[in-house]
Amino acid sequence: MSTPRAMRQSLALRLGSAGFLTFWCIVAAFPIVWIGVMSVKSPVDAFASNPLDVIMGPVTRAGGNGLSVIGIVLGLAVLYMSGRFAMRNLPQMVARFTQPGTVLLGWVIATLGFAVLFIVLFFAVLPVILSGLNAIAGPLGNPVLGLTTEHYQAVWVENAFYRNFVNSLIVTTGVVTVSLTVGTLAGYGLARSGSNLAFWLLILALIFRALPHSVLVAGYLPVFINSSEILRPVFGDAAPTLYGQPYAVIAVLVAINQPFTIWMLRSFFHNIPTELDEAARVDGCSHFQAFRRVIMPVMWPGVITTGLFSFLLGYNDFLVTSLLLDAQNQTMVPAIASYFNRETTTTDQVEAIAAAVSITAPLFLLVMVFQRQIVSGLTAGAVKG
């Protein structure tokens, strides 16, 4: 079938469109790819003004850290194979070893196991094999591409970045679970009620969504710092100081996230026909039973999508976590501020870059796995709501 002549596009238009798209893709990916490249070079290379020096890393190579041609080929092969394994074999294995009820748990275990295996293989086994191979390979074994992981080691091992990672994990897990539990209930209630009250609640939520977070934090901070004195009449000497506690931050982030969550979940619940609830009600379910046994099982895509956005909010937040957490309980994103504020030497800067790449890597994986859900979540709010 050929396109009608009126719809056919001139060569200039097609070229222009394709050119613009290529340009956009380069602009979109370049800064992220570039910090990835910079993070594995020695400071002199990372901030070299010649882009070729940054990519090839002559100083890093001279320092004895480099990849040979064999190394590059082998590394790419391992990357490709593990990617293939994760896409093809892992889902089958999960399906084989899990009962229907425990699929989620199976996936968590499988992902963790895969990550550990990959890290061991890539960072422990591969270098050993490579050093042996390079020694016997002659000219092919000479390093051509400067590459070093020393900044990652400095960040994760010496500066104990894993502690911030664990804190981030606690905060984001808490935020996602609580805001989904509270949000699904509210979203369902709002979607199934056509009353004026529901409309006003939604408008109120919209106004709350627009509030700058610093306004709210200005309200929490004095209360949180003095909370042990304020709560003493109620709890006695066990009254906690909420300032610096991850669970207090979880509660704050859940509340800040709530307006957005209920709007999004409401629009997902709207797509589920009311006949489904009515059928369940006729069969003798209460409203809550209908929600739990009939609606929730078909709601999973919406819940996963909303969970992703809650995750992003908890993970990406800088303002709330940096003001309400003290140094010991800092999550990753505010912790990076201490790196680039220190910035006395260029080594510090490259370490900051390595930390930044470490923070971005999970997000990158997230987009890879959940691209479709993210797109559907973005459009759910706009096109239907």
Binding site: F20, F47, T181, P212, H213, A218, F291, L319, T379
Partner: protein, 340 residues
């Protein structure tokens, strides 16, 4: 649904929003009228140093903090009325600047500086985000089907990245003799320091924000483009409309609700511009309203937080967002009334 069941479902969420959003707002409002300060007392201290033939004694009046029984500095909270607002707005200095007609003098006052940047930033990025988003959506819609998935994947990266990290990654491209600065210097054949003056930092922030938000606009426009009525498009072709006219009179009107939606979300998000200031470390040149509150809230060298002034600036920020949102919200209200 009965009212009781409705409350049972919505209750927990409502409780959290009241406790953590509505209640803090009230407390910020009251805080802004009170000032908590450390108590000082003035005491006469006689210090003597050994001398000849008699020791020399000096009596001076010193002020020292009053300690309570635990050894902490005693603080008092007093009602100061609108003093905190006056401290933030600095109306007399601003008034003097306006009377003198001196823009640069007005821009030395933090609040007005922050307001100027926040508003220009919001209003400048808005058309750029919508334009770039629409252009990408049209280009992707025009591309081969198999390319669309990868392009969407790459486009989502700037959107999903942590804002502070995103700003930092742009900053590292320009800082010192970063490669893009080096490229610009080679291209324009002159020395460039991107972080030495305010306007270059603002341009970078603008570019960063468009880079960060355009994917969001793109995804939504792209979804909207899939539902364009093909019959209308065909009849436009029969009527002899060229490509530009089809875009102008068929596609854009179809996307209008989405454009309004994106504009609304963008107004809200852009008004709280904050991460850029942190990422580009631009506080010496450029600050935003939310950063002003943040700055009051972070402890100064003596460990004190200016809670009262922070509350005042928070309240002023909030008034700003209400003013900004009144028009779109009135529209929603009219739509709701029209629907019933």
């Amino acid at each position: 649904m009965k009212f009781k069941t409705f409350i049972a479902f919505v209750g927990p969420s409502l409780f959290m929003m009241v406790l953590f959003i509505a209640f803090p707002l009230v407390s910020v409002f009251t805080q802004s009228f009170y000032n908590k300060s450390q108590e000082f007392e003035r005491v006469e201290v006689e210090t003597c140093t050994p001398g000849f033939p008699t020791q020399t004694c000096v009596t001076e009046v010193k002020s020292r903090p009053v300690l309570d029984e635990n050894g902490n500095v005693r603080t008092t909270t007093e009602f100061v009325g609108l003093q905190a607002y006056r401290d933030v707005l600095e109306l007399d200095r601003a008034g003097a600047a306006v009377r003198a007609g001196s823009w640069s003098q007005l821009m030395t006052i933090d609040f007005w500086k922050a307001l100027r940047f926040t508003l220009t930033f919001t209003l400048l990025t808005l058309p750029l985000v919508i334009g770039v988003g629409l252009a990408i959506a049209l280009a992707v819609n025009n591309a081969v089907r198999s390319l669309r998935g990868p392009v969407i994947f790459i486009s989502l990266l700037p959107f999903i990245i942590t804002p502070v990290i995103g700003a930092l990654s742009i900053r590292w491209l320009f800082i010192g003799d970063g490669i893009l600065t080096a490229f610009l210097e080679w291209w324009l054949a002159r020395d460039i320091a991107m972080f030495a003056q305010g306007w270059t930092i603002e341009v970078m922030m603008l570019l960063y924000r468009v880079w960060h938000v355009a994917p969001f606009a793109f995804v939504i426009f792209y979804a909207g483009l899939q539902t364009v009525n093909q019959d209308t498009l065909e009849s436009a072709i029969i009527d002899g409309a060229n490509r530009w006219q089809r875009l102008r009179y068929v596609i854009v009107p179809h996307l209008m609700p989405l454009i309004i939606f994106i504009a609304l979300i963008h107004l809200m998000d852009c008004y709280r511009v904050f991460e850029e200031i942190v990422g580009f470390s631009s506080q010496a040149h450029v600050i935003s309203l939310q950063w002003l509150t943040y700055d009051f809230l972070t402890p100064d060298d003596a460990g004190n937080r200016a809670i009262s002034r922070a509350s005042a600036s928070a309240m002023l920020t909030m008034i700003g967002i209400v003013l900004l949102l009144i028009l779109p919200l009135r529209r929603t209200w009219r739509d709701h009334k029209g629907a019933h």
